[in-house]
Amino acid sequence: MKNLLLKMADDALIIGHRNSEWTGIGPVLEEDIAFSSMSQDKIGHAWALYRILNEELGGGDPDMVAFNRAAKDFTCCHLVEYPAGEYDFSLVRHFLMDKAEYHRYNLLLQSSFVPLANLAKKVKGELKYHVMHAETWMRQLANGSEESKARMQTALNIAYPIAFSLFEKQEDEAQMIADKVFVGEDALLSIWQEDVHNAIESYGLKVPTNFDSAPFMGGRKGYHTEYLEPLLKEMTEVFSIDPNAEW
C-alpha cells in the first residue's frame, strides 16, 4: 500500500513542479494563472499523500521525503518527467494525466484505507476542474486552425505511448487488490482508455496506433529518464542550502 501512495505522491510532485515551469511565461495571463493554480493543486495532493504516509504508515517527514531523496528512490512515471516542451505537449500530457488522476481518485473513493478514501473525496472537485480545463483546450485547439489541429495530433502521437507509464504495476498489487485498497492498474487502464479514446475521437483527432510503450516503463522501480535528475536538482536547490531551516 505504501508503494501506491508513494508513486501517486511522486507523480503529483513532479508534474506539479514541471507544469509550474509555465508560471510567468504561459500563453496568456489567465491561462498562465490557470496552469499555475493546477500545479499548486498537484503539489497539495503530493503533500497530502506524503502526510498520510508519515502519519499512518510510518513514512518519513513529508518535506524530507519530497526534497531529500535520490532520483532512484522516486517512483514517479516517465510521463511526468518529460520536459514541458511547447504548450501543445504540456496540454496533451495534462489531458492524458488528469483523466487518469480523475479516474484513479474516483476509484479510491471506495478504498478500504480510510485516509485515502477521505483524500479522494476532498480532491474530487479539483480534479473535475483539471479535466474540464484540459478537455476545453483540447476541443478548442483540435477545432481551431489547421496548424493548431496538426500540433495537437503530433503532441498526442508523442505523449500517448508515454502515458502508459502511469499504469505500470508494482510488486504488491495483488495484495492491495485483495485488501480492497485499490482495484488495480489494469482496471484503471481500461476505464481510462475508454474515456480518453472517446474524448480524442470527439475532438476529431486520431488515437495513435502501432506504438511501443515498453521503453517508457521502469519509473515505478526507480529507473528514470535523463530528465528527472536535473528537475530534482532545480526543485531541491533552495532546500539543499539548509535542510534544517525553519520556514
Partner: protein, 122 residues
C-alpha cells in the same frame, strides 16, 4: 500594416484592409462580462471582464481571475455585445432621479419612527 502581437487577445487592426471605413473583424478575442455568485440563491454580482475565444474558456478564465480566493457558488459569463444598454448620451434620463426621495422606502420608515418618538415624548 498588420501588427500581430504574440498575445492572441491583441491582434491589432489591419489598416491595409479597411474597406468603407470598416476594419476586418474577428481579429480579437471576445470580451465577456463576469458575474460572481458567492452563495446559492444569492444575486450574481458583476465583477469585471475576461477576454477569451469561447464561452467555455471565458468561464475558466473567470474562475481563475474572480474565484481563486473568495467563496464561490457559481459564475456567469455573458458576451459584452449581448448586453443591451442605454446610450451614454441618454444619461439625462436619470438626471432628476436623486431628487425623488419620496420613492425611497427608507425615507418613510424613518419618518414613521420619528413621528412615533415625537408622539411618545409630547
Amino acid at each position: 500594416m498588420t501588427n500581430s502581437s504574440l498575445d492572441p487577445r491583441i491582434r491589432r487592426i489591419d489598416l491595409e484592409h479597411v474597406k468603407n471605413g470598416v476594419a476586418p473583424t474577428n481579429s480579437h478575442w471576445i470580451t465577456f462580462e463576469v458575474f460572481h455568485q458567492d452563495k446559492r440563491g444569492k444575486q450574481p454580482i458583476h465583477v469585471g471582464i475576461v477576454h477569451a475565444p469561447s464561452p467555455e474558456i471565458a468561464l475558466m478564465f473567470a474562475k481563475e481571475q474572480y474565484a481563486r480566493r473568495k467563496e464561490t457558488s457559481n459564475l456567469w459569463v455573458v458576451k459584452s455585445s449581448e448586453v443591451y444598454t442605454f446610450a451614454p448620451e441618454d444619461d439625462d434620463i436619470f438626471e432628476t432621479t436623486p431628487e425623488k426621495t419620496f420613492r425611497d422606502p427608507g425615507f418613510y420608515k424613518v419618518r414613521d419612527r420619528i413621528e412615533a418618538y415625537k408622539n411618545k415624548t409630547s
